[in-house]
């Protein structure tokens, strides 16, 4: 038999630190430079997530409509100016943050940066564009909500955080019709400010380009005051269910409200969740997929939010397997606090997590994402090394203790959306 090749376990991962400057308006500009890089990426992070909106869909609409017309150019002119140089603008939104990202080829930086400025600093929010956007989004959300997975995700957030909680609430798509110019303008004025913002960029090492980006970011208006978002205490419930007659699969979500990344047990719980369902070969995959064939996929992870965090298990199973799948999930969760994980299994998980970090950090774009996340969490890129140390040294006893403390199966929230008849 052929001998398997020897394996080298990387002992450290090189993580570049950004250079940082504080601009005249108070904005932190973090730059990751790489000589010869032929792409420039610029990400503006604002505390302008859905928890900061006073009316449904305002936060997402305010960011999506940034590029739909300025005081100088129409929406189509801006679209042309981006597409012509192969540059792009994309947005992402969660409950806490709005991230506005611009990308262009380094050789078209000069041609693109003016358009980027216009998009971020001078949105018009014309009523006509708002109504086109609203009908488009209403349709896509309605389609999205036909999926059992979407229904389950929304019900899960609602059950974890409780009625009306800003981390758990979702709205009927018809409310898109109520959006007005003033809603968006007002939200933009209040949230897209220097006090709520930091910037991460990745580019080549030409100082002129970085200086140009600084001049851009310096124009973000300062209001002189920072108003933190108040998040009320959650009121979790344990079970929710929706019958969908035509479903062939049930979407199942199981989880538990815990804590965010700032908590000293977060990384430990990440390891616990990895063992449970963080990789192909995890206990949940072995049980639900490989042994029972209930599902195509099942996954567990720790989710970090600014003022909360939770453990989530997600799977779609054949409707006829729904109850058995939930039983097996609860049994696997329970096993974590009863048995010590074997040295072999723990070592596998350590190396997978290590490889995962290496993959994320391989290439300039992943490094931007890591830097954004670290900055949001009030830390810096050294947190990777600290996390890796903890992953390297965590013991089976601590893993069992964490599971015992935080993952009592009786306290899990369970959501099923599917056909149980």
């Amino acid at each position: 038999m052929i001998q398997p090749p020897a394996i080298t376990i990387p002992q450290t991962i090189r993580v570049a630190q950004p250079t940082e400057q504080r601009l005249a308006n108070g904005v932190r500009l973090l730059a990751l430079t790489n000589p010869g890089q032929n792409v420039v990426r610029l990400s503006f992070v604002f505390e302008a997530g859905t928890t900061t909106q006073h009316k449904p869909f305002v936060a997402s609409s305010a960011q999506n409509l940034l590029s739909e017309g300025s005081s100088r150019h129409s929406a189509i002119e801006i679209a042309e100016a981006l597409d012509y140089y192969g540059s792009y603008f994309e947005v992402s939104l969660d409950r806490d943050y709005s991230v506005i990202t611009f990308c262009c080829l380094t050789r078209f930086f000069e041609e693109s940066i003016g358009t980027f400025e216009e998009i971020l600093l001078d949105p018009l929010y014309a009523p006509d564009e708002i109504s086109i956007y609203a009908s488009k989004r209403k349709q896509s959300l309605e389609i999205e909500r036909r999926k059992t997975a979407t229904k389950a995700r929304e019900r899960f957030a609602h059950a974890l955080f409780g009625d009306g909680h800003p981390y758990g609430v979702s709205y009927h798509e018809n409310l898109y019709d109520d959006l007005t110019h003033n809603d968006l303008k007002e939200f933009y004025r209040r949230r897209y400010t220097a006090e709520n913002c930091f910037v991460v960029c990745s580019l080549d090492d030409d100082p002129k380009r970085l200086a140009r980006i600084a001049r851009f970011a310096e124009q973000i208006p300062s209001t002189g005051c920072y108003s933190p978002v108040e998040i009320p205490a959650p009121t979790p419930s344990l079970y929710d269910f929706e019958q969908v007659d035509q479903a062939v699969q049930s979407s199942i979500r199981v989880g538990k409200l815990l804590f965010g990344r700032q908590h000293p047990d977060f990384v430990g719980m990440q390891v616990v969740t990895y063992i449970l369902g963080g990789y192909f070969g995890s206990r949940l995959i072995e049980n639900l997929r490989e042994r029972n064939g209930f599902t195509y996929s099942v996954f567990a992870s720790m989710i970090n939010m600014r003022h909360a965090g939770y453990m989530a298990i997600a799977t779609d199973v054949g409707c006829e397997f729904s109850e058995r799948a939930v039983e097996e999930i609860r049994a696997e969760v329970g096993r974590l606090s009863k048995e010590l994980v074997s040295a072999e299994e723990l070592e596998t998980v350590r190396r997978i997590m290590f490889g995962e970090f290496m993959r994320i950090l391989d290439g300039p774009m992943g490094l931007v994402d890591v830097t954004i996340e670290a900055t949001q969490n009030g830390t810096d890129n050294h947190y990777i090394a600290r996390s890796l140390d903890e992953i390297r040294t965590i013991t089976p006893t601590r893993i069992r203790d964490l599971a015992e403390r935080y993952l009592n199966p009786e306290t899990l929230t369970t959501i099923i959306v599917g056909n149980l008849k």
Partner: protein, 424 residues
Amino acid sequence: MLPLWLLIQRTAIMITYESHTLSNGLRVVANRDSDSAMAAVNLLYAVGARNESSDCTGFAHLFEHLMFRGTSNVPDFDAPLQLACGENNAFTNNDYTDYYITLPKDNIETALWLESDRMRGLAISDEVLETEKRVVLEEYNQRYLNQPYGDMWKLLRGMCYTTHPYRWPTIGLTPDHIRDASMATVRRFYDRYYSPENCILSVGSGHDPEHIFALAEKWFGHIPATGFTRDMIPAEPTQTSARRLEVVRDVPATAIMIAFPMGDRLSRSYYLCDMLTDVLAGGTSARLYQRLVKGRRLMGATNAYITGDVDPGLLVVTANLLPETSVAEAEQALWEELRELANSAPSDYELTKIKNKFEAEMTYGEMNIMNKAMNLGYYSMLGDLPLINREAELFRSITREEIAAAAADIFRPERSSTLIYAKQ
């Protein structure tokens, strides 16, 4: 704005590679990327749904699943790879099956060992086959049956192709074919298609290509050639009359798909059709979105794309209708756009925009070593590896007149297949 000629100048994006064929027929391609701490290892087997028979569809994909269920030497494919900090996955399409791994570059031999082992020694028990069938049936449910619009592609393929195996989707025509798959078929399929002659190993890493070739010889050199010959795939006859299918489903919005046959992957038609769809739907400034979604407000979403198959594929135009829009109105609006492309050539400006966009997308894609390794495998399968660096030039050589002529040739009503997926 810069003058046009400045933008169209030749740029320096080239994927460097070296290639080598082992004596057993395995093709090896290596790309050196010294910036990366990782290695990307890609194995492409030139077998997909197009190689299936019509009574055993979905099998290539089912087989891809079985490739992870262990050999006589290595009972669990994933475990040793995970111990080497590696990650892997695979996909099957109509033309090929692709297995890909990323891991720290020092551990590259673990990937080569595991891949060479499963090229020869797959050991599947009846029990594993039965479980894997259930997993694939759940995948069928998850991706197709449990999604709104999940069966649109299946319906469209069935209409566009009468003869060529592209008429069924990769997942298969019916769950019954998966349920009925036998161990004898598994064995036959493996012996026939999983041979070194039908495979391409492509690697992106910081290693010297010569070192990669030596490692390929070490791990794959002993595997015997099987005398593999390619399947003869029946060609699709030329379509001569318009086809149409209307179905009613419980969906929130009526959707339309119009498909047209186009040339194969190596034909000039491929590049022309790619550009046609870019004029129609490449970015938010493109025609369909600006005119039909924003200008006339007929649709909530539109798109146009090519399937990119190796054999002659499809150019597809799609639309989701807003509640006020009738099917007739939407169809007419789409056809007006298609006819306009045939009647008057796109402007130089539009063409330059598309060419710039192509270059930018290529550069963005270049930043990932897995992308590069996959692309090298794909172009090698096409039988024209240097094409990977010639395509930018090919796009630049296309003229406005050529695009209009292609539009007139492609967008013929008698070659169209229209699927109306109406809401109740």
